[in-house]
Amino acid sequence: MGKKKQKVVLPPELPPEVLDKDIEVSDEDLQFVNQNLDYAGFVSNLDTHSITKHVTRVADVKEDALESLYEKRLRKKQPNKKIEENAIEVDPVDALPVKTLDGKLYYRTVPREIKKVESESNEGDATGHDMGLAKLTKAEKRAKLKKSRKEAKKQAKEEVQQTPQADVLDEVKNDLTAEEANESKKYKLAELGMALLADPESNIKSLREMLEISKDGNRAIVVLGLKSLLAVFKDIVPGYRIRLPTEKEQEMKVSKEVKKMRLYESTLLSSYKAYVQRLIAIEQQTIYKRVSVRCICTLLSAVPHFNFRENLLAAVVRNISSQDDVVRNLCCATVKSLFINEGKHGGEATVEAVQMIAELVKTSDCQLHPDSVQVFLSLSFDEDLGKPHVADVDGKSKNKKSKKRKGFEEPNHLPDNGKKKTRQEMMTRTRDEVNADFKAASFTQDLSERRRMQSQTLSAVFQTFFRILKHTMHPTSEASSLLGASGSHPLLAPCLNGIGKFSHLIDLDFMADLMNYLRKLAGKSSKSGDLSENSSNYLTVSERLLCCIVAFKVMKNNLDALNVDLQDFFVQFYTLILEYRPGRDQGEILAEALKIMLCDDRQHDMQRAAAFIKRLATFSLCFGSAESMAALVTVKHLLQKNVKCRNLLENDAGGGSFAGAIVKYQPYASDPNLSGALASVLWELNLLTKHYNPAISTMASGISTMGCANNQVYHSIVSPQQAFKESSLEQESIVPSGGIKISNKKRKPGKDKLSSVKVRPDVNMKHQSDENEVRKKLTEHFLLLRDITENQRLRGELERTTLSLNLYEQYKKQKKQKRKTKMA
């Protein structure tokens, strides 16, 4: 709305003053006037007073005052003009004024409003609802702003204009008021938001207005308000933490800019605080839970360095184990992003978050969703966190030496050194100052500060892990009575994974305790000896396998001191292989355990290696392709590494000369060392060569002929995990319609690519949100299948028809020939 600039136009000069009595009216004039009284009537109706006022108003006034006069006049005129503008702006059809019997014209203002509102609301719908705030263009925003101002003025004017349609209008108004009000609030939000984003410093007060709007009763408005505030804050919040000025600073005289800045900062901070409080209060109510959690999470990940981070973090951590999948995923993602983007907040948020999660684990007695501890796996620590502080010590000793030297040289060169010393001191002092200034200016952290924070984080993390382990060992009596058997240790799996990942940072003192715990945990089966430890205390096979894996990982990472052999875990693993059941337990974990414990470069006891080979061969007879493949790969590996075990491939039933102390194989022995496997023979391989899966049969025949060659240069590169994965995926794929390539013995078993179409529905049924994708993929897959069968059928038909056609032609030929012979 621009003020119309008026050129200062002076009225024309007045005619020379002529007194009334000097005017002589001619006769003709008089006659004319008497005849045409009607026409001349206007002269008597002239409002001389106002005209003189009009004319004299501007005449004697000087230039500047003149301008201001005109401006005042304009201002008075404007509201009237605006209404007139309204009349022109919208549909002229509806803008027809109403003429009452009195002759007065009433412009239809109120209905036009409704029409306008409807048209605007249509616009609003078109631009999209929830996040449509940012999408409205600036021009539209300005138009809406104008309209809102006009509406406001109109509200005032309505009371003045009492139209006869007032009753009808009132009714209509009441119906549409709610919708109107909502729309108006939405647009207000939009304008305020855009204004803030455009120029935050001057429009900072609008934050309060937005907050007010978001306190509305209507749920949609509240949601919109919160979300728009979120968008605004994300962009407005500065890159530093606001510190409000102290009493002293406030008393100081400061420049205008600083004052403005302070005002801006304090307003921002107070409205941010109100917003955060509102979010946290609203989070308790279930209808708003998702929205508020989403807002909190976005705020936290966007501006983790700002004030009130602790409150936001507390809210997030509280919800990190919620039953609601969406909420939980949001919180976990936020915490993970906090850990990964450490640059944004300088590491303090990491420490706080980890400590809070540790508290949560403690108070909830380790009954949380595994995701809450899974976030720890995204932590990362400096490599040299475990090594002690060597630098400082060196520095200090160097200082001492240099000081001694100085003191020694002093008495010799006193007069010269006096000046030099002071100059040196000055130099060092200035250098220190420069360093300090540089450090303050650049936001890089002091190394020791960073180290301290990381060690705090690490200690909290390990505290949590050990607490979880302890809880698994001795669950409280209430828990064991309430909960069932395997469900009582939800946090064990991520805890073990975490220990495996951070094993290189564990202090050696804790290592013994940790190994003790792991040993006890691995040994817990459903038939534990003590009556006090009920079945509620037993761990599933997968969990026990995980314990073994973690123990080995820990050992591997601490190999620098001593090569320690984990006898007990091998014993446990030996029995676990027998207890494994394919449906109930996870095959991937078994494959990983096989890899880590047996295939990695470890030198084995002959008896023990032979025992594992024999047991794994028997194992591969009992289960499906996937487990068999993994087991066979391991067997091959072990046979290649331990040359002595190759007498298992020979037919010496008594073991020949290699048997060792035990002459007969004990299949049910629980200790691999006492199994006497060196005295057995691998007859299972013979059976496996007749396996239905070609990969397994080739593998088995490969192994049985391994003993012949003296020098085995060919190493199997496939790990049991890969073999397991590949074999299990092959199972899921459709049965190939084309021919299967006969695999060469030399070819690696896992890489047997079937020539036909291999549709791999990578079905991941775990995520509810991917259901639609899954459905789509499944329909695609089945459509494809159907098409293929259709194709085949049609091809068959085609062949048949061509065959019959050929036959017919032959028949015709034959007939012709017959006829010819007959004729001839």
Partner: protein, 188 residues
């Protein structure tokens, strides 16, 4: 030859327990013996003859009773002997039995095998591999890297402490090794 009495049995079993742990049950009761004409496997037992303790199958004991006490030199496997002051020591001839059932093992690097076979103790620098969870004064059987039992001894340090030791510390005190067959032929 006579069977061991109460006190002697406890002493022998204690010593064996230090080396084999819970496998003692296997040694004493569940070890089947195919020696002798009897088709069913028999059992093993301990007998004392001239201050030496032997681990013998029962069928062999039956047949050995036919020999005069003074003329009987040895039977079965000697596992140890009692000293004049009635202390029991395990001897090297029992190595096979111990090695088959050992709980705690130490593998020596090839360079330090000879040192051990000459009667020296095992240093940390010579240890190739060591079983986890060894405590002080546990019985340890010493192997070469090819899993050939070389002898046995007593642990001087636990595995934990072993990690932090310097390479010249003693890990296993020497008790007996197979080099004794050559060095102390007369005393066996």
């Amino acid at each position: 030859m006579r069977p061991l009495d109460e006190k002697e049995t406890t002493v022998v079993f204690d010593k064996l327990y230090k080396f084999v742990g819970n496998n003692l049950q296997k040694i004493v009761m569940e070890n089947p013996s195919y020696e002798g004409p009897d088709p069913n496997p028999g059992r093993y037992c301990f007998r004392l003859q001239k201050n030496r303790v032997y681990y013998v199958s029962e069928s062999l004991v039956k047949r050995a009773t036919n020999i005069k006490r003074e003329k009987l030199v040895s039977m079965g496997t000697q596992i140890g002997k009692f000293t004049k002051s009635d202390k029991f020591h395990l001897t090297i001839q029992g190595l096979n039995l111990l090695a088959a059932n050992a709980r705690h093992k130490v593998w020596l690097k090839p360079t330090s095998e000879m040192s051990f076979l000459y009667g020296n103790s095992v240093l940390k620098g010579g240890v190739g591999r060591i079983t986890e969870n060894i405590q002080v004064n546990d019985g340890v059987v010493v192997y070469s890297m090819a899993d050939v039992p070389l002898g046995f001894g007593v642990a001087a340090k636990s595995t934990q402490d072993c990690r932090k030791m310097d390479p010249n510390g003693i890990v296993v005190h020497h008790h007996a090794d197979i080099g004794e067959y050559l060095r102390m032929e007369d005393e066996l």
